[in-house]
Amino acid sequence: MSDIDRSGTANRSTLLAGNAAADPRDRGGLRQPLLIANGLRKHFAVRGGLFGRTLAHVHAVDGVSFSIAKGETLGVVGESGCGKSTLARLLMRLIEPDAGELIFDGDAVSERTGLTLRELRKNVQMVFQDSAASLNPRMTVAESIAYGMRVHGATRVAATERAQALLEQVGLRAALFAGRYPHELSGGQKQRVNIARALALNPRLLILDESVSALDKSVEAQVLKLLRALKAGLNLTYLFISHDLHVVRYVSDRVAVMYLGEIVEIGPADDVYRNPGHPYTRALFGCQLDTDPRRRIADAPLAGDPPNPVDPPRGCRFHPRCPYAEAVCEARAPSPGEPHAWPLHAVACHMHDRASGHTRAGNPPAGTPQAFRVAGDENEAPRPQEILR
């Protein structure tokens, strides 16, 4: 674990970081990924009974490894409850991981020897989903933004001044908004304030946890545009968590797909979207609705609910719902191997491992997911009952 500059990861990051400009805050060099997560794991105890005994564990995040190159946007998609938000909180260390390590720009996050939590949190900031709940109702907008700077030793005047500059930067007139309370703002304005607050400490990585999901489509587009402009202007790196597959494709350089606390597929966004490798990814993308009435979904691509994360299935966690599941899938989990040895587009599936023993090993289903079925002829108008099915 001491070998930080892993050749495989580094090659990938140069490929993807590309035009990231030199940053004075940069320590590890351009080739060093901004953040490496290594085997992160968090199991929440389910307590109950008379004395709060631990009855079981929810496997919220179970051995997640990935890296984010400087200047890229890594999208994270998955169903509700797959551990996306837990992952975000683990990366900020808002919750303590049970296992695994974080390496930020070449420095391991550790109180004793490496980067302290305080330093990590200065460099990694987060924008939450609920724009209303993430602002203190009893603080003015300027106070909320200035709080973090005050914590890190700025004077009241300096912090207020910068808060106002930040408001302007996210497109809110400081003279108008600085003294307002959150309840006086619209959802989009609140989320802009949240972004301004996240930027206050001059972070390098911004975690956007469903940050635009709750906004109106038109406001969402504005905020996405703002995020794009900020990223270029401030040399930011994004971890973009969302369940909205279209938005993730629009903003991400790379995409990670999560299922039941694990990353099942990770790779360049276009690659993953055009040629999804994991059966789950294929099914997930098959759920996307198309604006073309002829390309409608005839059957639900995924049957059933995700299994209970308290008691995840043995072997490959997707095997109970997978159309290609075989004995080997139940017997053992597909091993993605060491993170540094991963290919650019990695898939945790036995079908992608020639030596796995799966009958389709080395010959996985390819192409656009089957769920994108053409339901009618081109000249035929769509029948309502088909839409309802």
Binding site: L94, L135, N136, T160, A175
Partner: protein
């Protein structure tokens, strides 16, 4: 939008702080201001009692017992031992205000802090604090106060201690619930995400959102405290006669209610006015603290 307004054009004026905002809002709440004035006058009257009356609160007069208001210069009449009621009410305000406010204030400080910690940290801390509170909850409050007073003896201090201990569990519970609610909101997590210490997060973000709820409840306890103190005095466990105390005066004059109802009702009226004022002021404060209203 941002392109039009250059940052340089923005005046750097610190927005009004939270306390400022509350004060400004209170300025226009005349009802609350009126009851604040009532309380201030009561406190002033209690402090300046010797200047407002030339009677001795302990001087008895067997010839002038239970006289109506206005009798021979006695503004509000005399009690069952012929002592001047007005004087005794003034002096009694001292004890009653102390017995009403002090236990609640102390319990608010102790119980509120414990509840805040329990709600904020949760887990084992919560378990330890709240289960201890549950033990206190298990006893009826009057019985508990009597037991505590009985244990450490009579007198004002023991009454004060007993009442404080009685109020701690409920204030702790309210504070804990309110804190746990606030704790679950994202802005607390966002504050922690800046790298701030728990203390800073609690003071800056949690306290302001918890206090209003606790405040309202605490102010309603003041009247309860005055009455409980009276009950303790009546049982001989709180303030001892002849020290004037509204609750004790009420208890003492109880037997004379058919002879001189007006005079007997006076201490009760005083308790009523003060506790009602406290309720109104706390309501007004809560309203002013609720930025959204």
């Amino acid at each position: 939008m941002s392109a039009v307004h250059s940052p340089a054009a923005v005046p750097v004026a610190s927005p009004p702080g939270y306390l400022h905002t509350i004060a400004r809002r209170l300025q226009h709440d005349y009802l609350t201001l009126f009851f604040i004035a009532v309380l201030v006058l009561t406190v002033l009257a209690a402090c300046c009692a010797p200047l407002l009356t030339h009677y001795d609160p302990f001087a008895t007069g067997l010839l002038g017992r239970l006289k109506p208001p206005g009798w021979q210069g006695h503004l509000l009449g005399t009690d069952d031992l012929g002592r001047d009621m007005f004087t005794r009410l003034l002096y009694g305000a001292r004890m009653s205000l102390v017995m009403g406010v002090m236990p609640v204030a102390l319990a608010l400080a102790i119980g509120g802090t414990l509840g805040l910690l329990a709600g904020f940290y949760g887990g084992a801390v919560n378990m330890a604090i709240m289960r201890t509170m549950d033990v206190f909850y298990a006893f009826p409050s009057v019985l508990l106060a009597v037991a505590i007073s009985g244990m450490i003896g009579g007198g004002m201090t023991s009454g004060l201690t007993a009442l404080t201990l009685v109020f701690i569990p409920s204030l702790c519970r309210i504070a804990e619930t309110a804190t746990a609610q606030v704790r679950a909101l994202d802005f607390v997590e966002a504050a922690q995400a800046t790298g701030a210490s728990s203390l800073s997060v609690i003071v800056a973000h949690v306290l302001g959102n918890v206090l209003p709820a606790v405040f309202v409840f605490a102010s309603s306890l003041i009247s309860v405290s005055v009455l409980l103190a009276a009950g303790l005095s009546f049982l001989g466990l709180g303030v001892q006669p002849p020290t004037p105390d509204w609750g004790q005066m009420l208890a003492g004059l109880r037997q004379a209610i058919y002879l001189q109802p007006l005079v007997c009702a006076l201490p009760g009226l005083a308790i009523c006015i003060v506790s009602f004022s406290f309720n109104m002021v706390s309501d007004g404060l809560r309203h002013a603290m609720d930025i959204r209203a």
